[in-house]
Each structure stands twice: as structure tokens, then as C-alpha cells.
């Protein structure tokens, strides 16, 4: 099996949805070059291309960024297609082609852990429809009823006559058939799945480990020039001017260009020459009033929100005010969660070539259609004159989806140099300074107890930034000013609903929006909400003198799947038995992205309290269906890399209106030696809803460790990251 190889990839697309006569050959990297006869490579339908040698190409609209989604999506198609897995490869249909074909591949958005859970039905239908057409073609050829045929690994057989034919031999005939009626397509019972649920190896691994994989940052086109850019480091500021003459004589420099009203770019023969010149370029900025903002001033604003009279209600039961007023005892605590950056290994980049008749963009993107839309907007050309070619991402984590700023920049630069391909690659510093950051949030929690030490109520007051108010104000408007996404993991219903039922509950949000642009950081708002509620549940258990697991269970009777994963991790880690000497345990659970997740960990802390070793993490996930258990295990392990790095090391601070952390030396990630042993428990309990994998588990990493830290030291840590308190992961 081979993954897409950009250099020699030949993408053949039939001109019609079903069985078109002529195919367009899209020869990357230069877009449409030739038209050729279709009969050599028949497209059975939008999802499936079968070549005469029986090799099968599965088209996948979602983007691969290391999460393994293209492998899982191909498994879904192949399950119904019944072809030979060893002959399968995948390719990305272009967003322009999707538009031309009335969005036959539907959404390209690769975020929200949605790759598989929102498309499993239609991609399986695509596979099933193709199988039906192939079998019909064989039946037509043999003049037998199709229901007398069977298929196994791409070979169709007629038992009565002993005839056999492979998919590749009937593909051309199948491509000419009318696709079956949607209602005639019956998907397999999950019990009979042969490919779904198997730990298929991920596509593309060999290319990645051998360095053959071409990332956006590596892309080279004939005649290409290199650009790098600096946007006003104070968000909202403008570019006043620059003295190009000071750098135009520098080696390799070709152009110094204004890009929009807030950025300047240098174009040179090599990227390094562009970077050296940009560093040397005298530029003048109008920083605006935001230059006065600092982390301290933001913290003050949020702090005031903790007790503000006005707040948006996200989840409510009973009467929390009466519960608190009538309580025998109340406890409260304030938690805080910082700005964090996605910081993918590959900085933002896009390569564009513009002429007045055509604009093409090559880009690592979490949403090819959003990149296409950005290309339309920046180029000013109509959709038939634009195309976007997706490249696998060197990390995305939410930065490369909803925000296509780098695509627009690349096109705006290329537009000033018609005919010349321009690769815009941000410096690491630019990538750190121009993030779309995990929003900053504080939270005040109050719990009330009666005289028998029963918890009677919980008030969780969030104060901090709304992502949607900035990114999708229309949703906030529709909700009467509230950001429903702020309540992820503690919502009253839906894919991020709370896993407890309390007699009295109020979860509300005092929205405070600093000028720092927020974004969807892997897991989004579950990260802070899990820390807040899951650590405070431990505080409440402690105040009640009860075991944290037993205490939680009292409120989970109506949340059987939350309870299922929590019980699973408790059992595996041996919660009811003493921990090994010197080790301490903590746990946490949450529902997010329609999956149920829990973690239990074992840590040790040195005598100073400053060195934490995480020895072992047990993580349970109930996504309903486990398409590829090996990928899920890796996603779970990777979630702890992300979640523990965030907990211990990662914070973006604001000084003079800009982000201070400009590279990895001040924005660290954990290393292999710090990685705990991760034991995954995958609980595929079925049901009508499919849950996501890529994000949910991240959020339980931090509270599980923080709760274990309390067990070890008796000290509550309520502020992330722990480095600010002198605590390091060893």
C-alpha cells in the first residue's frame, strides 16, 4: 500500500458522477494539464476508482495530519466495497472538483474529531454502491441474476458455474451503470464487519519515516520563489510603512511587499535570504490601544467576571442560590487556564501561483474547502479559475482549519508576482506570534453540603474568552449573546454534556473577550472545563471525607457510559487496592465529541514537591464504534503527550499587546523520557451515535494528574501550567 506521493501522483477524475466518458487528468503539481480517455481508469463512483490491475483508489475528503483518519475512512469504504485491502491506496479529491460535482464528497472539514463520526454513513454507502455496480456488471456479463453472485476480496464468483472475475476486469463496465437507488443500499450489520474494527496499518508511514513524504514546507515547484512574512505583532495593529530600500540590495531579495493592511513580506530566491532580509527590514507599525494589554491586565478583567452579576447560563438544575444559602458548609476554589498555542512542528505555509486566468494553491489544510474559499476571496477570481491541492499536514491541532490567513497571504503575494509560484513559509517566530490561541479562562466553583455531608449543589462560574464570539459571531448572536461552546464537557445536553446529575446546579459564563485572537485548540473548551470540574469534584470528595471515585459515582446513575469508562480505569489501575509504595493515584472523566473518556494515573512526587513522575496512565474510551483500534490507541497516547505538555509546560503570556513566547525554547513540549506508560481500554459499546477520538482524551490528562498530586502532597494546584509554580515533569 502506498500513500499519495505528490511528485508522481496522477489524479484521475471522471467528468461525470457516474460512468462519464471522458476523464480529466489532474497531474500534480500543476493542475489540469491533459484530458485523456476514461476507459483506462474507471471511476466506479466518487469514492472508488478501480484500475485494471485490481488496485483500488479510495477518495478521502478529510485531511491527514497524523491522526490516521484517511486509513480509518478507507476501512469504512472497503468494508462495504469488499475489495482486497492490500491493493488499496487513497487520494484527495480537490475542493474545486467537489464544487463542480455539487459537493459529492460533502464536507472537507477535518476538526472536531469529526472525520469518521460524521461521515461513516455516506462513505460506507459509497463503498456499498460501488460493490453493487461491480457485481451487477459481472452479472450482466455472465447473464445471471446478481443475487447468485458472491464477492470476496475483490473477486466476484458465480457458485453454480464456478466462474470468477476480479473487480479490475469489470470496473469499466460497472462505471457505465446507473448507480443503485439510495434506498436499495443496505449497510452491513456491524457483527459481520471484517475490515472495520481491525488494526490496519496506517497509510504513509514508510514515506514519513524515510523522509520521502513531501510536506507543504518541503514543496518545490519549477521557478518557485520563497517568501516569509511578518504581521503586526500586536493583534489589531496596522503596518504604517517600511523602508524597502534598506534590504532590496541584500542577497537573493526579489521583492518587499505589503500584504493587506497589517503585514509585510519579503520574497527571495531562498527562504533563508527572505528571512534575513525581513529581519533586517525597518518596519513601522501602528500598534493601537491593544499595546497596553498584558497578561496581568487580562487576569484582572477575568477575575472581575468571577463575581459579576451578569453571566450566560449554560447548565442549570434546581435552585443553586437556595442550596448555597441553606448549606451547612460550602467550599469554593478559583482555577485558571492560560492561552496556549497549537505550535505544530510545521509552521503555517502555502504555495500559490496566480495569473489573471488561474490561481492555484498547494497547502497543508484541515479544510480544503475553506482554503479554496480563501483563495477565491484573495485572488478575486471565480471558482472555475481556482484550485487548491491539499498536502498532508505536519500538525494541525485546530490551527489550520477555521483560519486560512496564511492562504490569503500567499495568494496576495503571488498576485503581486503573476505567473511565478510563491511559497510562503512562516518563521517559527511568526507561527508563535500569530496563533489563534486556546482561550484564557478562570473559574470559580462553589459546592454546598448539608449537615450530613451530602453535596446539595454546585455553582461553576466561568469567566473568560469566547472563541465563537470572535470566530463565528453568528452562532453567538443566535444564542442571544451566549457562546454555547464555552460549556463543552459540562453542557446540559449534546455531544459535550456533563457526566453528573446534581440536585442543584448552575454553570454560567461571564464572557470576557481580550484582544488576543482565540481559536480551536485540540479539545477546545473541554481542556479547561475538565480541569475545573474534575479537580473540584476531588475537592468536594475530600471535603465530604469520601473516596473520589465513590463520591463521583453517587452523581452518575443517569450517566451509564460515563460511569462505564470511569469504572474501567478504576478497575484496571486497581483503585480499591493500595498503590505501590511512593505512588499516588488520581482520576477524571468526561464526555466530549460524543465519546466517553476517563483516565486514572499513578504518579510519584519528590520530597520538594517540584518533580513529578507520571508512571502509568490507564485511559478508557467509549466512542461507540472502534474503526481502527490501533489508531485509537495511538491517538490516546498522543493525547497524553499533548495534554501533559499543556499541563506542565505551556502558556502564552501577553506583554505590550503581543505574545511573548516566540519559539520552542520558551514553549516546550514533553520528551520521550517523560512519557508515561499508557494503557488503553477501548469500549465499543455500539448504539446510534459514533464518537470522536482525536480530542476527548486530552482533557482528562491534566485533572487526573492534578488529583494524584493532591493525594501525594496534600496541595491543590489550581493554575496551569505547573512550570509557573516550579513544578516539572520528569
Amino acid at each position: 500500500m502506498e500513500n499519495i506521493n505528490l511528485n508522481r501522483r496522477s489524479f484521475l477524475v471522471s467528468s461525470a458522477v457516474a460512468g462519464g466518458g471522458l476523464a480529466l487528468g489532474l497531474q500534480l503539481p500543476f493542475g489540469i494539464t491533459t484530458a485523456q480517455a476514461a476507459e483506462t481508469v474507471p471511476e466506479i463512483n466518487a469514492w472508488v476508482v478501480i484500475k485494471p490491475d485490481d488496485s483500488v483508489v479510495i477518495r478521502v475528503a478529510r485531511s491527514e495530519m497524523g491522526q490516521g483518519t484517511i486509513t480509518g475512512l478507507a476501512q469504512l469504504v472497503v468494508e462495504e466495497l469488499e475489495c482486497d485491502w492490500s491493493k488499496v491506496s487513497t487520494e484527495y479529491p480537490t475542493p474545486g472538483e467537489n464544487l463542480k460535482r455539487n459537493r459529492v464528497w460533502q464536507s472537507y472539514s477535518t476538526g472536531g474529531s469529526r472525520g469518521i463520526r460524521t461521515s461513516h454513513d455516506y462513505v460506507r454507502r459509497g463503498g456499498a454502491a460501488a460493490r453493487m455496480m461491480l457485481m451487477q456488471a459481472a452479472a450482466d456479463q455472465w447473464k445471471v441474476p446478481v443475487n447468485q453472485l458472491t464477492v470476496n476480496k475483490g473477486v466476484i464468483a458465480h457458485g453454480a458455474s464456478g466462474r470468477k472475475v476480479s473487480y479490475g476486469k469489470v470496473a469499466a463496465a460497472a462505471a457505465k451503470l446507473t448507480p443503485p437507488d439510495e434506498k436499495a443500499i443496505k449497510l452491513k450489520d456491524p457483527k459481520s464487519w471484517k475490515v472495520i474494527g481491525k488494526p490496519m496499518k496506517r497509510f504513509g508511514t514508510v514515506d514519513k519515516v524515510t523522509g520521502r513524504q513531501v510536506y507543504g514546507a518541503d514543496l518545490k515547484l519549477p521557478g518557485m520563489v520563497n517568501a516569509t512574512i511578518m504581521e503586526c505583532p500586536v493583534f489589531g495593529g496596522k503596518l504604517k510603512g517600511f523602508d524597502a530600500a534598506k534590504v532590496t540590495g541584500m542577497k537573493g531579495v526579489k521583492q518587499v511587499l505589503r500584504v493587506g493592511d497589517s503585514a509585510v513580506a519579503v520574497v527571495a530566491d531562498t527562504w533563508w535570504h527572505a528571512k534575513k532580509a525581513l529581519d533586517a527590514l525597518p518596519a513601522e507599525w501602528d500598534f493601537g490601544d491593544n499595546v497596553k494589554v498584558s497578561s496581568a491586565s487580562i487576569a484582572e478583567v477575568l477575575k472581575a467576571g468571577l463575581d459579576a452579576p451578569q453571566a450566560f447560563v449554560g447548565n442549570k438544575a434546581g435552585d443553586i442560590q437556595s442550596a448555597i444559602k441553606g448549606a451547612a458548609k460550602t467550599i469554593d476554589a478559583v482555577y485558571e487556564y492560560p492561552y496556549q498555542n497549537h505550535a505544530p512542528m510545521e509552521p503555517m505555509n502555502a504555495t500559490a501561483r496566480y495569473t489573471p486566468d488561474r490561481c492555484e494553491v498547494w497547502v497543508p489544510t484541515q479544510d480544503g474547502e475553506a482554503s479554496f474559499a480563501a483563495t477565491l476571496e484573495a485572488s478575486g477570481l471565480t471558482a472555475d479559475k481556482c484550485e487548491v491541492y491539499k498536502i498532508d499536514l505536519g500538525g494541525g491541532f485546530g490551527r489550520r482549519g477555521a483560519f486560512q490567513d496564511y492562504v490569503k497571504q500567499a495568494v496576495l503575494i503571488a498576485k503581486q508576482m503573476p505567473g511565478t509560484p510563491v511559497k510562503l513559509l512562516w518563521s517559527r517566530e511568526e507561527d508563535m506570534r500569530q496563533g489563534r490561541y486556546h482561550p484564557v479562562m478562570q473559574c470559580k466553583l462553589t459546592g454546598s453540603f448539608d449537615s450530613a455531608n451530602n453535596l446539595t449543589g454546585l455553582h461553576m462560574r466561568l469567566s473568560g474568552q469566547s472563541i465563537l464570539a470572535s470566530v463565528r459571531p453568528a452562532i453567538v448572536e443566535k444564542a442571544g449573546g451566549k457562546d454555547p461552546l464555552a460549556f463543552q464537557g459540562v453542557a446540559d445536553s449534546g455531544e459535550h454534556s456533563i457526566g453528573y446529575t446534581f440536585p442543584n446546579l448552575l454553570i454560567d459564563h461571564a464572557m470576557r473577550n481580550p484582544h488576543v485572537p482565540p481559536g480551536f485548540w485540540r479539545g477546545v473548551n473541554i481542556n479547561q472545563n475538565a480541569v475545573f470540574i474534575e479537580c473540584f469534584m476531588d475537592e468536594l470528595a475530600h471535603a465530604a471525607g469520601q473516596d473520589p471515585l465513590e463520591f463521583r459515582r453517587k452523581f452518575m446513575a443517569q450517566h451509564p457510559r460515563n460511569l462505564g469508562v470511569l469504572n474501567a480505569v478504576a478497575e484496571r489501575i486497581g483503585w480499591t487496592k493500595p498503590a505501590p509504595k511512593g505512588r499516588f493515584r488520581g482520576l477524571a472523566q468526561m464526555k466530549a465529541f460524543d465519546s466517553f473518556v476517563a483516565a486514572a494515573c499513578e504518579i510519584s512526587v519528590d520530597s520538594t514537591g517540584n518533580k513529578v513522575k507520571v508512571h502509568r496512565i490507564v485511559a478508557a474510551t467509549d466512542p461507540g464504534y472502534a474503526v481502527n483500534p490501533a489508531q485509537i490507541e495511538r491517538q490516546i497516547a498522543g493525547s497524553f503527550v499533548y495534554g501533559l505538555s499543556a499541563l506542565f509546560m505551556q502558556e502564552c503570556t501577553v506583554k505590550d499587546g503581543r505574545i511573548e513566547q516566540d519559539n520552542f525554547h520558551v514553549y516546550n513540549s514533553m520528551r520521550i523520557a517523560q512519557m508515561p506508560k499508557v494503557e488503553s481500554i477501548i469500549m465499543a459499546t455500539g448504539g446510534p451515535i459514533w464518537g470522536g477520538i482525536g480530542e476527548p482524551t486530552i482533557c482528562v490528562a491534566a485533572p487526573a494528574v492534578l488529583n494524584a498530586y493532591f493525594k501525594a502532597t496534600g496541595k491543590r494546584l489550581r493554575s496551569v501550567p505547573l512550570k509557573n509554580q516550579g513544578i516539572e515533569l520528569v
Binding site: 479544510d367 475553506a370 476571496e377 465563537l468 463565528r472 453568528a474 443566535k478 455531544e495
Partner: protein, 132 residues
Amino acid sequence: MLVLPALATPEALQAALAKITGGANVRRGRVKLQLPPLVENGNSVEFSVTVDSPMTSTDYVKAIHVFTEKNPQPYVINAYLGPHAGRARITTRTRLADSQTVHAVAELSDGSFWSDSVSVVVTLSACIGDLV
């Protein structure tokens, strides 16, 4: 009434439209609504409406109206024109709350109404899930 695509059309849109037309027939044609088929986030989307009209004192466009199906306020803009306008064309920006069809209606000096419609996909590339 305006011939709309086979979509559930909110009553608010129909009501806003009826207010303009007074129930008169709206024909398709003569109007060209230019709007990208895909937009990145919908927060600020440029569009233009051009009407095929000589813009003389006896034959001109009186007004151009733009409606959306899924915005909180369906009536986006009414632009009043006259023979002095010279060209029957407007360009502006709007926010689009979601993927939807946008309708442009032109009211001509002879009292007739003409229209064009464009379906727009707002790519919603984020971890937003069931909120939209």
C-alpha cells in the same frame, strides 16, 4: 411569488419579500447576483448585484433588495436607484450566518420584479459540531 429553490424558506423571508413586492409576481432573470459559491467563515462576504437595465428616465431600476434565508435578519439591504445612478449595480458586504441561499430582487420602473439566487456554502472548519 418569487420562485425559490426547493428549500424550506423561512416565513420571515417570505414576509419581507411580500412587503417589497406587495404580492406581485417576481420573475427570474435580468438580475445577476455575484457571490462566491464557498466562503471561509461568513463574517464579511463581498457580493454584487447587477441588473440588465438601460437606466434611462423611462426605463430604470428603482431598487435592489437582497434577502438571506438563514441570517437572523433576512432583509440584508435595500438600495434605491434612479436614472441618475447611471449603472444598475451595487457592491457591498454582508455577514452570512450559515450555508444558505441568497436572493437578489430588482424593482424596475415599470413595476416589474426580477430576481437571481445563489447558494453559498459557509465552510465551517472548526470543532463546532452540533451547534449549527
